[in-house]
Amino acid sequence: MRDIGRLVLVLVVICSLSAASLSYVRTSLATRIEQQGDYYVRGPALARLFQQPASQLLANKVKITRDGTEYPVFFRKDGDQVTGLAVEAAGQGGYGGPIVMMIGIDLATDTVLGVEIVSHSETPGLGAQVEKAGFRQQWVGLPLGSSVALAGSGGSVDAITGATFSSSAMVDGTNQVLDLMNKNRAAILAEIAGR
């Protein structure tokens, strides 16, 4: 039994040391990792949404947590006035996993500016067509305060042929954002103001 004791001890010590050192590294690198992620993953989407270099926008970031899900929200300021938001959401139900998208919102008109794909793992040539401008054009100008649905389910969004799963993941992500905006608009603005 003492034999086993020694084995267990050695293993536990090694594991604990490794976990401790890793958590140290992780803590020291955490900010940088997040910045890198924002820069490479969200940056391009943001830049396209607001038509301005991402570097000006990446710092304008808050995180809103709702129902256990965290939504990163970026904002655009004209002077002191917050004129636009970009909310990121993960649309569930995609063929290769969730589709992460960013939805731009024009606060002046209360409409959707457009949608950009942050990341996806859909099949090239099929689900990957969600990236195509033609498909995404359907988002421009959607009013806040409602929800969307695929044409097949009586809604307004035309799905991509052969990629129903990907399309419905897009709809799912959009509805999450619309819902968040409708219910938490004040809280978000307060959070931004608080920075």
Partner: protein
């Protein structure tokens, strides 16, 4: 229905061996005889499913609540290694026949990237529990399918007049490439 589509997709379209390149070491090492390949395939189905369940639980019940997602690699490999060994010890004592048929392949699975890969993919895809179980079993079944088919081909290949330099692993890889090409034909099936 969704689950069936998920399964078909995992077996054929995103075949773990031929499309995701996971588990190639045993694919080349253990595919020399059909019998061995069958044993290995079945053992992988069993272990991959079991390991996925445990790693999934560990990830969502242990790591996520404490914000330790970055430790997943470490935790997963520990769990898989311990689990495989436990199953092996248990089988050896309880059912020698089962052990001789499947158990002997268990050690090979610890370092089989297919098993670890499936566990990681489960997390990456963000599956719920049921989806996860189906996906894991189906992916492993895809592995089994590919390795058994491949072993059949290799048995024939063994006696084929292959140029000397291409004998063995080289021609096996080329064959795998052709099989992979065939599996590409499944693209678009499922979802």
């Amino acid at each position: 229905m969704d689950l069936i589509i998920l399964a078909v997709g995992a077996i054929f379209v995103q075949n773990i061996l031929l499309a995701q390149y996971l588990g190639n070491c045993p694919f080349c090492g253990v595919s020399k005889k059909t019998g061995t390949a069958v044993g290995m395939g079945v053992a992988v189905i069993f272990v991959a499913t079991l390991a996925s369940i445990f790693t999934w639980l560990a990830y969502y019940r242990l790591l996520v609540p404490r914000g330790l997602e970055y430790l997943q690699t470490l935790v997963f490999i520990l769990i898989i290694a311990a689990l495989v060994q436990l199953v092996e010890i248990f089988l050896k004592k309880q059912s020698r026949t089962l052990y001789d048929a499947l158990g002997i392949y268990l050690p090979l699975i610890t370092t089989n990237c297919a098993v670890m890969g499936i566990a990681l993919l489960n997390i990456k895809h963000g599956f719920g529990f049921v989806d996860m179980v189906v996906y894991s079993a189906a992916s492993a079944a895809g592995f089994a399918l590919a390795i058994i088919l491949f072993a059949g081909v290799r048995e024939r290949l063994f006696l084929a007049p292959v140029p000397k330099a291409m004998r063995g692993t080289a021609v096996a890889l080329v064959t795998a490439g052709i099989m992979s090409l065939a599996f590409m034909g499944f693209a678009g099936m499922g979802k």
